[in-house]
């Protein structure tokens, strides 16, 4: 699966399926199971239909038919959130693990 066509063309894997969505949505938009299912089903079908090594199948789904501005801004300056300070990240990590550990103990 890929949303970065130029990187995948360079890597040249045996089989690939491309969907032109912003990074982080290679198998669809959040809480849209039907769209996600279509994309993943198309990918499974590609296992059977791709017969030539290095083929990239391009899927027809469009992120927003009325607005293609995401293509101008995706992965440009200011796109990535700032990395949290280590102390904040460690605190969040400890809380997450403690939450699940206590759930395991129940």
């Amino acid at each position: 699966m890929t949303s970065a066509l130029d990187i995948t063309q360079a890597v040249n894997p045996p089989r690939a399926v491309f969907v032109n969505f912003p990074l982080g949505h290679q198998t669809g938009k959040p809480n849209q199971p039907e769209l996600q299912r279509q994309i993943v089903r198309d990918a499974m079908r590609a296992f059977e239909t791709i017969g030539k090594p290095g083929t990239i199948v391009e899927l027809p789904y469009v992120w927003d038919t009325n607005d293609r501005r995401w293509e101008e801004t995706d992965y440009t300056e200011g796109f990535l959130p700032e990395r949290p300070a280590k102390a904040d990240a460690d605190k969040a990590e400890a809380e997450r693990r403690a939450r699940h550990a206590s759930a395991n103990a129940k």
């Binding site: 890597v11 040249n12 198998t27 959040p30 996600q36 990918a43 059977e48 990535l80």
Partner: protein, 156 residues
């Protein structure tokens, strides 16, 4: 128009030495599918930094991976990654780790079987050599052990 991510990355990190992207010009290795996908055991892996319950998070240049039980639900999963906007994946892991969708395709008979567990790593690894020589062989060993027919890799 597909976004040209290689020049975008070069621009975003222009203060640093230009990244040398992996370029494979030879014909890729080819393993033909020997039976219909409806009869295949398929394994799922995401590079989106997915974590199950209290599994430890990933670190910089981390070549480790996590095993995610195939029955994991949204409440079991979290995301740790610095190289993409993770908000939507945190809201619904199926954006980059379509585990629930793969379970449905298994139930519908579109695939023969979803291999258990699924796999996750954090794809923001600078060194392609680390991925090629450390991470990839370990994953390949895992997949050989469970005898999968097809491997579905979803990046983030």
């Amino acid at each position: 128009m597909p976004v040209a991510y290689i020049p975008r990355t070069r621009e975003l990190y222009k203060a640093y030495t230009p990244y040398r992207w992996v370029e494979n010009r030879d014909t890729p290795p080819w393993t033909p599918l020997t039976k219909p996908i409806a009869q295949c055991k398929v394994a799922l892996m995401s590079s989106g930094g997915i974590l199950y319950r209290d599994q430890p998070r990933f670190h910089r240049e981390d070549a480790s991976y996590r095993l995610i039980p195939k029955d994991a639900t949204q409440a079991d999963l979290d995301v740790w990654h610095f190289g993409y906007r993770t908000d939507d994946a945190k809201l619904d892991h199926n954006c980059v780790f379509p585990l629930a969708r793969m379970r449905e395709l298994e139930a519908e008979g579109v695939i023969g079987e979803l291999s258990d567990p699924a796999y996750s790593f954090m794809g923001g690894i600078y060194s392609s050599r680390t991925v090629r020589d450390e991470l990839a062989p370990r994953i390949a060993d895992e997949l050989k052990r469970v005898h999968v027919d097809a491997f579905y890799l979803v990046p983030a």
